[in-house]
């Protein structure tokens, strides 16, 4: 029987890289981000001062990490609404560890936070895969349950920046080549997850699962294991975001991270991640997160009436999905016409 031998020689790539880049789903979002930053800069040069850039990057960092994890789950045609609650729990754990355990090394706290995040993600994943029930419902449930646990655990206790070692807080202050350390960390995360998803077999499986879960099962893709992986990685990243939250912000307590879930999903969607799975990229999700966090700063810097800000964010989300849709429709039409010519 003839297996198809795979050789590395032969025909050149057909499409030029520039055309391919322009066609990518994340291109319009990236363009919107650039335009937004430039317009704001023109109106208020302070926007791109050293401090301004640092603030922009820092604001985006946590959302980027969350959006990347969320995108991974969404690719598999699932969703995780409990990320805000996971972030809250991990942030509070971080605060507790520093406050209760004298001289605890910072890496240990990071590991503990990642572990808790992964555990909570794994619970979501288990409920979704073993019980075979829709993720939206399950994670809406764990959104409440995790938040409740956080409330029960924290009560009125809050830990403040002063309770944590300076070196920890410095992570969110110090920069390397103008980039805050935690932003660089987020960048590493985006790249690593991006390579995993686009360049490895198991990563591609996630897209296949999201594209058609039944076909994936029939095809023999280990669906449960892959979906589980996506949820665990997402939990892990939410945990990372939780630890970084504690480094960046002042207080962590019962309500930390409340209401973040929809923003995270919005960021992924704005970045061209199809909500029903199967397509999109983590780079897109990351850009979406940067765009959404930047728009708030930009509107403030432009002194847009604060009452208008939320409305503008809403319009932006709608515009992003509309643009995405128009691009998709045009590609489909082009495909139809070009094939007609081939016939």
């Amino acid at each position: 029987m003839t297996a198809v031998a795979v050789r590395d020689d032969a025909r050149p790539t057909r499409r030029s890289p520039i055309v391919t880049a322009l066609r990518r789903r994340e291109t319009p979002v990236a363009a919107a981000l650039v335009v937004l930053v430039l317009v704001t800069y023109a109106a208020n040069p302070l926007f791109l001062s050293a401090q301004g850039v640092k603030d922009l990057l820092l604001n985006a960092t946590i959302m980027v990490i969350l959006a990347v994890g969320q995108a991974m789950v969404i690719f598999t045609r699932n969703v995780d609404l409990s990320v805000g609650s996971i972030l809250g729990l991990v942030a509070f754990l971080t605060g507790t560890l520093f406050a209760q355990v004298d001289g605890i090394p910072i890496p240990v706290v990071f590991l503990a936070g990642l572990a808790l995040g992964a555990l909570l993600g794994a619970i979501n994943g288990l409920l979704v895969t073993v019980a075979g029930v829709p993720a939206l419902v399950i994670t809406l449930g764990t959104l409440y349950v995790y938040r409740g646990i956080n409330n029960a655990w924290a009560g009125g206790t809050q830990y403040f920046a002063g309770d944590r070692p300076d070196a920890f807080g410095a992570l969110a202050v110090d920069t390397l080549l103008g980039f805050p350390l935690i932003t660089l960390l987020a960048l590493v995360v985006v790249i690593a997850v991006g390579i995993y998803l686009s360049g490895t077999r198991s990563g591609r499986d996630l897209y296949a699962i999201g594209s058609d879960p039944d076909a994936a099962r029939v095809f023999g893709i280990p669906v449960s294991r892959r979906v589980m992986t996506a949820f665990i990685v997402n939990g892990l990243l939410a945990g990372l975001a939780g630890v970084l939250y504690a480094a960046r912000f002042n207080s962590v307590g019962a309500t930390t991270g409340t209401g973040m879930e929809l923003d995270v999903v919005a960021a992924a969607v704005v970045g061209g991640v199809a909500i029903f799975g199967g397509s999109g990229s983590v780079a897109g999700a990351a850009i979406g997160a940067v765009l959404l966090t930047t728009i708030t700063s930009a509107l403030t810097a432009l002194r847009v009436d604060k009452f208008w800000q939320q409305a503008v964010v809403g319009i932006l989300i709608l515009a992003a999905i509309l643009v995405d849709r128009i691009a998709a429709v045009r590609t489909a039409r082009k495909l139809r016409l070009s094939e007609a010519r081939d016939v």
Partner: protein, 508 residues
């Protein structure tokens, strides 16, 4: 006695007395089959005989409730599809299972993409490998396009490419040809024979006897979930196999009745959709069966969809009984008296998760309502009447239609349109994946409808069906009508010529 010609060979796989039940339904009571290396083995049986269930057991997708399963003489128990793959079994399922968002190339190689540096996927190598596969199958599909929006035929071809790209010792094909046209089927057979000559075993399921007798070495017959008998193809005859499948003799396959041909019901003129079809002029009269023939991809389905209002068109007009029909509005088409049995039963013909009853009455939503509210009693009566008239086999009309076998599902589709008392029925591949017994029934039904003055536009890729049933054959090629041939003049040669020739001159 008819049996294996090479009894000394160790069978690649043998399944004995396998049983599989779904709740109260016994899908398979005694699944028995044996596949030798270097043979092409046909599995035949009526709709619902349990063929696909047996295939799914072999694939590791279902776990049998009982029975013995040997691979190379050793008992095995597959827990997942991965197990069967590891054992060298490759399966083409009855229904294509592609990932719409992935590219065609990735669909073929998912899970075993060629890897390059750092162990990462090498996309250009993957594309080239896909191109080579397509060359071998003689088809041209862009490996970089997403699988979304491919025609059923293309999907099936990709499934085939996928299956043969694996170095499988056992290839199982569940009705791979149902969606394919003659040339593609020929190429597929060429590939299958080459595989067999290399020592692979192929299990081939089809309802088309010409294919079975042309291709296979042995035939196993199933009925009602049980093994009946295995023949050497050379010694078998069609009537004998059919009798074993059905348990009785069946009547004529194409029971064409002469019908009174009346006024023009459907008048399509100059219909065009850029890039899909051009200048379609077509008429169907009351009581007339018009066969729409052509190769797969000729654009027949597209024309039907446009006529029914599923897709828009750019130019031309559609009239029913002289009244111009608004485009892009299926409800208007239904109101005008058109019924449409689409080609993709699972996705277009039926709402698979809805009950048999609800599917049957979907077309009657308005007819069954009184004062804006559904008349439940009338609804129940309609369900009972139509499932009895078409002899739909189901435990209860409240069961999901997905639990029915393919043939019974097709009957539900037909029933829901017949219940609307249409004046024109468009049937797209009405007997695809339907066993001989049911096929004859469907043909009788269609013929009967024409006899009662309903105009029929029948799209079919099976030439005998077209020639046997149609009063007039319209042939399409590359989006244009290339011939209209009266029943008396219709020969396979003329139709095939019109479907493939380079000139349009032969149009009458």
């Amino acid at each position: 006695m008819s049996t294996a010609s090479a009894p000394t060979l160790q069978p690649l796989l043998s399944l004995r007395g396998a049983a599989k039940t779904f709740g109260p339904v016994v899908a398979l009571a005694d699944g028995t089959v044996e596949l030798l290396p270097g043979e092409i083995h046909a599995l035949v049986g009526e709709n619902g005989a349990g063929k696909s269930t047996l295939v799914k057991i072999l694939a590791g997708l279902h776990h049998p409730d009982a029975g013995e399963f040997l691979v190379d003489g050793t008992p095995v128990s597959f827990r997942t599809v991965a197990d069967s793959k590891a054992a060298g079994i490759s399966v083409i399922y009855q229904e294509p299972t592609l990932f719409p968002d992935l590219t065609v190339a990735e669909n073929i190689f998912i899970g075993r993409q060629p890897r390059g540096r750092l162990g990462l996927i090498n996309r250009s190598a993957m594309r080239r490998a896909a191109e080579r596969l397509f060359d071998r199958l003689g088809v041209s599909i862009d490996p970089d396009r997403p699988a979304e929006g491919l025609s059923i035929a293309d999907q099936q071809l990709i499934e085939i490419a996928k299956a043969i790209s694996i170095d499988a010792r056992v290839l199982i094909m569940d009705e791979p040809t149902a969606a394919l046209s003659g040339t593609e089927v020929d190429r597929l057979f060429g590939v299958a024979r080459a595989l067999r000559d290399n020592g692979a075993g192929i299990l081939f399921i089809s309802h088309r006897f010409d294919e079975i007798f042309a291709l296979t070495d042995r035939i196993t017959v199933m009925r009602d979930g049980r093994y009946i008998r295995t023949h050497d193809t050379a010694d078998a005859t069609v009537p004998q196999i059919v009798r074993e499948m059905v348990g009785r003799d069946i009547d004529q396959l194409y029971p064409k009745e002469e019908a009174q041909i009346g006024e023009v019901v459907l008048d399509v003129s100059g219909l065009s959709r850029t890039g899909v079809f051009h200048g379609i002029d077509l008429q169907v009269r009351a009581g007339e069966i018009v066969g729409l023939a052509g190769l797969v991809g000729a654009g027949r389905t597209e024309v039907a969809r446009a006529v029914f209002g599923i897709d828009p068109y750019d130019a031309g007009s559609v009239s029913v009984n002289g009244a111009r029909l608004r485009g892009g509005d299926p409800q208007a088409a239904i109101d005008a008296g058109i019924g449409f049995v689409p080609e993709d039963r699972r996705r277009q013909g039926l709402v698979m998760d809805l009950s048999v009853g609800r599917n049957l009455t979907l077309t009657l939503r308005h007819a069954l309502s009184r004062g804006g509210l559904i008349d439940r009693r009338a609804e129940r009566r309609a369900v009972e009447e139509w499932s009895t008239r078409l002899q739909v086999k189901t435990g209860s009309p409240e069961f999901a239609v997905s639990t029915l076998s393919g043939g019974n599902q097709q009957k539900v589709v037909l029933a829901k349109w017949l219940a609307t008392a249409p004046r024109l029925l468009i049937v797209d591949e009405p007997t695809r994946g339907i066993d001989v017994g049911t096929k004859a029934e469907v043909h009788r039904l269609i013929s009967d409808l024409a006899g009662r003055g309903i105009g029929i536009l029948m799209i079919s890729s099976e030439l005998p069906e077209v020639l046997g049933m149609a009063d007039r054959v319209v042939v399409m090629r590359e989006g244009r009508i290339t011939a209209q041939i009266a029943r008396a003049d219709a020969t396979p040669e003329r139709v095939m010529h019109a479907a493939t020739a380079d000139t349009l001159e032969m149009a009458e």
